[in-house]
């Protein structure tokens, strides 16, 4: 690990930890009844958004889904904006109109996330088409899950992206579950990249808990798209530590999800893995780790307290935001 790599690794570690702490904070607040609506947490999956975002710039167009806190925060978007949004406050990223499932921060390139499964995949293709027509060299990113590839629009989108040579990167976070259903009882194969192959789109299946592997794959895909090479498909295999929604484990409602599985996957924690590699090569230490965690905890605490005090949207927001002004 050279100095440059060490610096990058440190940024990755910081970004992943920031997301982890923020999401754990949301889990606790939801458990304690401070958050009114559902939160879909991606703890354990942080390496994917962080690795992908390393090659993106603010003019790129990134779209998420229901489990998108990491996609937003990995773009250096404000934690306070996320917390305020989840609490339905006027200072939230979506002005308190979206909550956890409708996130937006276009200043950072985050065009939006929605909970309709695969709902933004075609939108990302269109944002990429716009970039192609505008000749900006920007790319679009569609984050989707292994459940989303069961939606017809994904296949239409892959085909359209390929035939129109659109600069879009499909990032499948394959965490093996759609809600409570394991992929083995939903699909005849557990490799969603087969759909990219079927549409003649270059695909890679990677370890989604290895942030360096994700970053390298994403870099290749982004460069390819910026240079006019069209779409790419990255399938990053991972696992979510929490259940489908909120703070529980879901080992009781899940099919093929046991406490043993969760424990085994926690042993493959993307943050712990990176941290161990950095320590082993002399670029990180327990003391630095404690410092970083303390700093992030302070940031979270401040952001949370501020968000709790922030005002709710005015009642006029109900009708004022239906149409453009």
């Amino acid at each position: 690990m050279d100095q440059v790599t060490a610096l990058v690794a440190r940024q990755f570690l910081c970004s992943m930890l920031r997301i982890r702490i923020a999401e754990n904070r949301l889990a606790e607040a939801r458990r304690d009844g401070l958050i009114g609506g559902p939160v879909h947490l991606g703890v354990g999956q942080e390496a994917i958004a962080v690795g992908v975002s390393a090659s993106l710039r603010p003019t790129d167009r990134i779209f998420g889904a229901h489990r998108s806190h990491s996609h937003l925060l990995a773009l250096s978007s404000s934690v306070h904006g996320l917390f305020a949004e989840v609490l339905g406050k006027d200072t939230g990223h979506s002005r308190g109109m979206g909550g956890s499932m409708h996130l937006w921060d276009q200043t950072k390139g985050f065009y939006g996330s929605v909970p309709i499964v695969a709902g933004t995949v075609a939108l990302a293709v269109g944002a990429g088409l716009a970039a192609k027509l505008q000749k900006t060299g920007d790319v679009a990113v569609a984050y989707l899950g292994d459940g989303a590839v069961e939606e017809g629009v994904v296949h239409e989108s892959l085909n359209l992206a390929r035939i129109q040579n659109i600069p879009v990167i499909f990032v499948v976070e394959n965490n093996l579950f759609a809600s409570h259903m394991h992929i083995s009882i939903r699909q005849p194969s557990d490799a969603t990249a087969r759909f990219a192959v079927a549409n003649d789109i270059p695909a890679r299946v990677i370890d989604g808990n290895d942030v360096i592997a994700v970053a390298e794959s994403a870099k290749d895909a982004v460069i390819r798209a910026r240079q006019g090479g069209g779409p790419s498909f990255i399938e990053a295999v991972t696992y979510r530590w929490y259940g489908h929604v909120d703070w529980r484990d879901d080992i009781d409602v899940g099919v093929n999800r046991s406490q043993d599985d969760v424990a085994n996957w926690k042993a493959r924690d993307p943050i712990a893995r990176l941290r161990a590699a950095m320590v082993a090569q002399g670029h990180w230490s327990a003391a630095k780790d404690a410092d970083l965690e303390a700093t992030l905890n302070r940031e979270m605490e401040e952001a949370w307290e501020r968000a709790m005090q922030d005002p709710y949207p005015a009642e006029s927001a109900l009708l004022d935001r239906v149409y453009a002004k």
Binding site: R61, F63, G92, S94, R95, G96, M97, G98, H102, W104, Q106, Y111, G112, V114, I116, G119, T120, V121, A122, L123, A124, V125, G126, A127, G128, L129, A130, A131, L133, Q134, A140, G152, V153, E156, S157, N159, L160, I163, Q164, P313, A317, D320, R321, V322, Y323, A324, K325
Partner: protein, 327 residues
């Protein structure tokens, strides 16, 4: 002044938009083929290039979603669905995404996308080639629904739709394409200022309609005039957001109303028209019970015998108007 028919008026709108606005592009099925969209898009691909006039795979859902995504990225796309029936595959992009986007993100982003759905019915095409679903779309907050009935509106409201920052469903009807009119040069208008309009004044009865039904109403008005009945025709033009004021004013004046709508009866636009008027009038202001003519609550038939009784015609409209007068 230049003479257009309804189809070439739409073509003129496309040309105006594509000439003047580089952010406008068109995507949909059949755009490189002469027979999908009548004479309303002839040779646009040759004039503006296939990169801006994009004929697509058979993928209504992805193409509509892509247009929504492009509209969030500084473009003003027009999606063309040569038959509304096929557009039902695209409902997530229209209803869940485009219509709700502004509200969901706190009014900070707006999908400036126009979805052109063409009603193309009759000719024994049957249940899945004949639908008129404007009432359905008008139910969705955030989605503007535009139904031009005149040659001038066909051109000017398409331009206004595309220049509007909200998602707009622009619905034209192939049965209107043969109308002709002389139009002045284009003058761009703000869609937010467009609403129902009195198309022809009268004193005895208000006929309220949209799209092809307005043409029926105008023809019935001529027939009624010959019978000594003075009918006023109000053309809705924009069904959502619906401003009932001009309709209420008309009925307040005439005291009688007939809603004519080319969609189904139950929960259809005709019900919204009548309800909006009734709730704004005092009980004594109506001289007869409101009436309506709609499609029967059945899918479109194929057989010509059934088709003949399925679609409202001019005689039916005139007859219902006379019945209102008799009360």
């Amino acid at each position: 002044m230049k003479t257009y028919n309804y189809g070439t008026a739409i073509l003129a709108a496309f040309e105006h938009l594509l000439d003047k606005y580089p952010e406008v592009f068109v995507i949909g099925q059949g755009l490189w083929s002469p027979w999908y969209v009548g004479n309303s898009m002839t040779d646009l691909d040759k004039k503006y290039g296939v990169h801006r006039i994009i004929d697509t795979p058979v993928s209504e859902s992805a193409c509509t979603g892509a247009a929504v995504g492009a509209s969030l990225s500084g473009m003003r796309p027009i999606v063309v669905h040569p038959r509304i029936d096929f557009m039902l595959y695209a409902m997530d992009a229209v209803v869940n995404q485009a219509a709700k986007w502004s509200h969901m993100v706190g009014g900070q982003a707006h999908p400036a996308v126009t979805i052109r759905g063409i009603i193309n019915r009759g000719g024994e095409q049957g249940a899945q080639h004949s639908q008129a679903l404007h009432s359905w779309f008008a139910h969705i907050p955030g989605l503007r629904v535009v139904m031009p009935s005149t040659v001038a509106d066909a051109r000017d409201l398409l331009i206004a739709s595309v220049l509007c920052n909200d998602p707009v469903m622009y619905i034209d009807d192939r049965w209107l394409y043969s109308q002709t009119d002389d139009l002045p040069d284009v003058e761009e208008i703000d869609l937010r200022t467009v609403g129902p309009r009195c198309l022809a004044a009268g004193t005895d009865l208000s006929i309220v309609a949209s799209g092809y039904s307005t043409l029926l109403a105008m023809k019935a008005r001529d027939q009624l005039a010959a019978q000594g009945v003075s009918a006023e025709v109000v053309d809705l033009r924009v069904l959502n957001p619906f401003d009932p004021t001009p309709v209420v004013e008309s009925v307040r004046k005439t005291g009688r109303m007939l809603a004519v709508d080319g969609s189904w009866r139950t929960c259809g636009m005709s019900a919204e028209i009548i309800a909006s008027v009734v709730e704004h009038l005092a009980p004594g202001e109506l001289r007869a019970a409101p009436r309506r003519i709609t499609l029967p609550d059945a899918p479109a038939p194929s057989s010509r015998v059934l088709e003949k009784i399925y679609y409202p015609d001019v005689d039916q409209v005139a007859f219902a108007a006379q019945a209102s007068m008799a009360r």
